[in-house]
């Protein structure tokens, strides 16, 4: 079974108390910028899925 390293990407949050704690330590400005980045990636992913159908 392959090992999945889920804690190398600083933007990853799910099931990771360390990453959640990191977000909480950020300023509001930093979190908004991160939200922009995450949202862009999510929209790109959604667009790619639509293109494959």
């Amino acid at each position: 079974m392959s090992q999945v390293n889920s804690h190398t990407d600083p933007r990853q949050t799910w099931n990771s108390p360390e990453q959640i704690a990191r977000h909480r330590a950020m300023s509001a400005t930093e979190r908004i910028k991160l939200c922009v980045e995450l949202s862009r990636e999510a929209l790109r992913f959604a667009a790619a899925r639509r293109a494959r159908r």
Binding site: H23, R24, T29, R31, I32, C35, L38, S39, R40, A42
Partner: protein, 149 residues
């Protein structure tokens, strides 16, 4: 098309639109970062503000299911608008969204762009009133972070 919410906020500010950013970006500012598909904003209901909003939306080549005219934007709103910089969700007088003038707000600056967002207490009240699944999840995370107040 790249989603550029900072560019949208900058454009609305440049046109002196009276508005606050709510939804995912406000939740992120208060500590809970998640992806969002659009920029949720609540706007002042006055006609002069609707005129400024119309001008701002036109500068972004906006389209929507209704004509983007001040007379339309001044009425009760729950309108999704497509622009060159991404989707904007205009909200006013719908469940969970208080009147802009009564909304307790604070400012956050991002790359020189001023965001007006609800205070944490106002945001939590909005989430309680909206009551959708994602609002309950956001509220639980905000409660965990800030205490259940």
């Amino acid at each position: 098309m790249a989603f550029d919410p900072l560019g949208i906020v900058r454009t609305l500010n440049e046109h002196e639109v009276r508005f606050a950013v709510v939804g995912g970006f406000a939740v992120a500012a208060h500590g809970v970062v998640r992806a969002t598909e659009d920029l949720d904003v609540v706007t002042d209901r006055g006609l002069a503000n609707a005129e400024r909003l119309t001008a701002a939306l036109r500068s972004l080549n906006a389209t929507a299911s209704q004509p983007l005219e001040p007379e339309v934007l001044v009425r009760r709103l729950d309108l999704r608008v497509s622009t060159d910089l991404g989707q904007i969700h205009l909200l006013r007088e719908v469940p969970g969204i208080p009147d802009y003038r009564r909304l307790e707000r604070e400012s956050v600056e991002v790359d020189g762009i001023r965001f007006e967002i609800p205070t944490i207490e106002a945001l939590r009240q909005m989430k309680r009133e909206a009551g959708r699944d994602k609002d309950r999840i956001d509220l639980a995370e905000l409660d965990e972070l800030h205490g259940s107040g």
